[in-house]
Amino acid sequence: MKKQVSEKVREKDLLEIVDEVAKGRISRRQFLERGLAMGLSVSAVGTVLAACGKKVNKNTSETMPSMDQTKPKSINLWNWADYMDNATKKNFTAKYGIQVKESYFDDNEALRTKLMAGGGAGYDVMVPSDYMVHILIMSNLVEPLDIKGYNSSTPEGFIPNFEGVGPSFKNPVYDDPKEFGGFHHSVPYAWGTTGIGHRTDVLPAQITGWADLWNPAYSQKIDMLNDEREDLGAALKKNGHSLNTKVQSELDTAMHDLIKQKPYVRTYDSISPKSAMIKGMALTHCWTGDVVLALWSGAVTTKNLEFVLPIEGIPVFVDNLCIPPNPNSRYGAHLFINYLLDPAVQAPLQAWIGYFSPVPAAVPMVKKLDSNVYAFAPTEAQLALKTTEVYNDLGDFAQAYATAWVTVKGA
């Protein structure tokens, strides 16, 4: 009897892996693994061939394109896999008579490479993350949005629902209108935080922050994300530094700390933090979405799994709606972006994808629809802390991070 049960469990395991790999129902912020999982890994030669040495530099004299208000038949959405439910798209079609065709990208870097190669043509709306929005603006790979108060082409603009976006998400560091001549290039779509998944039944101890991931007593009970920015970010935060630091000595300290931590780490993995938590890994460095997925699986509950928002500082990521250069329909894109910011649309959407809504009015509705999504959300006070930070573009200093990461992995 017992044997049968364990067979069942194993079968479920396998199905889950197949599911994770095939459908990509895994947390969406991954660099290496995501691409592999989707079977679309970047082959060097292919990418090189695709890119046709286009020179791009930040255009200093940006202008707001005019708005041709004819409704398109359809618009093309370029999204992360499993990052929008069908109902949301269908309801948009019912309301505006515009079909939404969705295609997917693996990760921010893949999006950037394709855009730089001129492969973004034909898409109307794309969903890059925070730091990538800044890179895309700097590279002239995103069009300004027509929003009231941001050089809009009409007094009203075309995204009235932007009013309802939470104040902390309105002018983020990665898309600050002050930096870009008053233009706004992105609106937030969904957000989340990084933290530590803690199985309280496996490790009945008080876990409060990043420093716990350096405690030798928890050796081999720690899984880290396999992610340059996240791992260096965790070490930087532990030391009280900014996760966007451009100070070489701070980065060096973080790098040495990660090397010191290496023997305590069981694995660096961004694909299956959810499974790790379900199987009883004591401390799992992961994203909010992973914890929500673990809770949704029913194998763990908030009684034995908590998501620790580290006291030293909480990393925040925001995914954004942007319009790539030369969309099929700027008007259709604006209609869709505005629609997605409607609280009544946001609520079921976030309850389905499992991330947080940047629209405050939608939050109580999400909570009503699903009790797990906001189980471990940061409070307003936590969000307002100076140590709570969004990942931003590092400019040329990104190379220093890449070098540090390779050194950590090779140590």
């Binding site: 790999v21 060097a44 030669v45 890119a51 530099n57 993995d269 890449a402």
Partner: protein, 281 residues
């Protein structure tokens, strides 16, 4: 007259999709990377190569990759040879069945097959459960295999074995049975027959199989990441990282070129050694 015309599509293909990209990779490796551009601007800078040849990370990665390639090739050969030999002894439908079984794993995604090893090797996985059932191990005291080198090699040999078995099978099967009988008639024992007849005649298969395993292994980075826990750096990962998350095509191109040149030299030497062996046989 028809010759050049017939060959032109193939020639175009080779130039457009092999030579040009290869040339680009060479050019990029001497260029300069800009943060907000994907393709490097061209020039003649040796910085990337200097970095590869002076920094210890790259030396470590190179040694580790070489070890991985040799171990995987030898491992596949040691397991693959008896298997290929065994299959070649079967006749008719049986033979087809076994060849089919060797190829069957290809029907499933490489990634899913690699992930499946997690289920076998995990602390609470199949293998540890069996050991408990056989009373060779107690529950709560499992052998830790996941995220170790052992797991990496299990995954590597498993994934690459068919590439070794199939060419070996082809070449062993071609050996005429009468040769074994002749060897026996002339008083050779089983071992001598193997050493003097079977092995030399299967050299082409060993050669082809070894290359088919070794060459892709040089660029392998998925298995070390998934089964090894991403704790070691192999060459393929360095290339992937440079082109992708690192946004440094210059470095990525230089890494690719170093590997390419090294591989060409090794393969040339290997081919030479193997042909002189065959000539001797």
């Amino acid at each position: 007259m028809a010759g050049p015309v017939l060959v032109s599509p193939m020639a175009f293909w080779m130039v457009a999709f092999f030579l040009v990209p290869l040339l680009l990779i060479v050019l990029y490796s001497f260029g300069t990377q800009h943060t907000y551009q994907s393709t490097p601007s061209l020039g003649f800078k040796l910085d990337a190569y200097r970095r590869i040849f002076t920094e210890s990370e790259y030396r470590h990665a190179f040694v580790l990759t070489a070890q991985m390639v040799v171990a995987n090739t030898v491992g596949c050969l040691l397991i693959g040879f008896p298997l290929a030999y065994f299959i070649s002894l079967k006749s008719g439908k049986r033979k087809t069945l076994f060849v089919l079984l060797v190829m069957m794993p290809f029907w499933t995604s490489f990634l899913i097959r690699t992930f499946a090893w997690k289920i076998i090797l995990d602390d609470g996985g199949l293998l540890n459960n069996w050991l408990v059932d056989l009373h060779m191990r107690t529950r709560g005291n499992p052998i830790h295999l996941m995220y170790t080198n052992k797991a990496v090699y299990a995954g590597l040999i498993y994934d690459y074995l068919p590439f070794m078995v199939l060419p070996l099978f082809v070449s062993i099967e071609k050996i005429h049975r009468s040769l074994f009988e002749a060897s026996k008639d002339l008083g050779a024992g089983k071992w001598t027959t193997f050493r003097r007849v079977t092995l030399p005649l299967s050299l082409p298969g060993i050669f082809a199989g070894s290359l088919l395993v070794a060459i892709p292994t040089t660029g392998e980075f998925v298995i070390p990441v998934i089964l090894g826990g991403g704790k070691v750096v192999v060459w393929g990962w360095l290339i992937e990282e440079a082109f992708h998350a690192g946004h440094n095509w210059v470095l990525g191109a230089a890494l690719s070129n170093v590997l390419l040149v090294f591989m060409v030299i090794v393969i040339a030497l290997y081919a030479r050694a193997m042909t002189s062996e065959e000539a001797y046989a």
